[in-house]
Amino acid sequence: MRRQKEEEYLSGNLTAMIDVVFQLIIFFVCTVSMQDKANDESIKMAMAPHGEVSKDKNPLEITIDVNKSGVISISRQPMTEGTLYSVLSKVAAEYGAANVPVIIRGDAKTKHGAVRTVMDACAKAGIWKIKISALKEKG
């Protein structure tokens, strides 16, 4: 009788542990896929087969999307030039303008005028190092 009780106790512990591990796995799987959804997928970027791939991701980097019709957004949040400037200048003031990498994901068909607006806002905020995102190969 005593041995049987011990076995039940052991298997009970195992179940709880498996539950917790599953929860952890599901949590990580969900959060990993959520990271990708921050980018606007309707943007078709231009091709640049010779551009270099950035190896390490800087947690401070700001990705600014410019879609086909020239709407500027960060993490799917559309914003005007004024809002963009205030966001950038706040980040630049907090971390130093030279430390903030700005990446522009522009649609291939958008006019340069919209991208220029983003660049002007960056320059005004003191950020003069800009990365322009492009596709390395057809996805």
Partner: protein, 138 residues
């Protein structure tokens, strides 16, 4: 006797379950590790000079290589060129000095892919000091 047999059956079932869970975990972790989105995004580094800086650069335009990007095509130092000619010229320039400043002036009306095209050629030939300015009005 009957009781004993029942006990051993439960024991066998638990063992099987553990093995299955182990395998399932192995599979899960394998897939989580291997399913990594392929990095197909390239980043092209450019400098955006602030307006004051542009003015000082305009004072000595002789040393600068100016590439103008228009919706219809490219102009390098006031010469109309095709993409191939531009690439050939930039290859020659890169042989002389890879760190010279290239000023890329992009017209507002030209599509973004034209600018990326120029930046891509510059990345290909190894020129890395690129400044992008916008020419207004066009």
């Amino acid at each position: 006797m009957a009781r004993k047999r029942k006990k051993s059956e439960i024991h066998a079932g638990e063992l099987n379950l553990t093995a299955m869970i182990d395998v399932a975990f192995q599979l899960l972790s394998f897939f989580i590790i291997t399913v990594k989105p392929v990095d197909v995004v390239a980043n092209l580094n450019v400098f955006r000079p602030s307006p004051e800086k542009t003015n000082t650069q305009d004072a000595s335009p002789a040393k600068l290589i100016r590439i103008q990007v228009f919706p219809e095509g490219f102009v390098i130092n006031d010469r109309d060129v095709s993409v191939r000619q531009l690439e050939a010229l930039l290859v020659k320039l890169a042989e002389i000095d890879k760190n010279q400043t290239i000023l890329i002036m992009c017209a507002n009306a030209s599509p973004h892919e034209k600018l990326v095209e120029v930046l891509d050629i510059c990345a290909k030939v190894g020129l890395n000091n690129l400044s992008v300015v916008s020419s207004g009005g066009y």
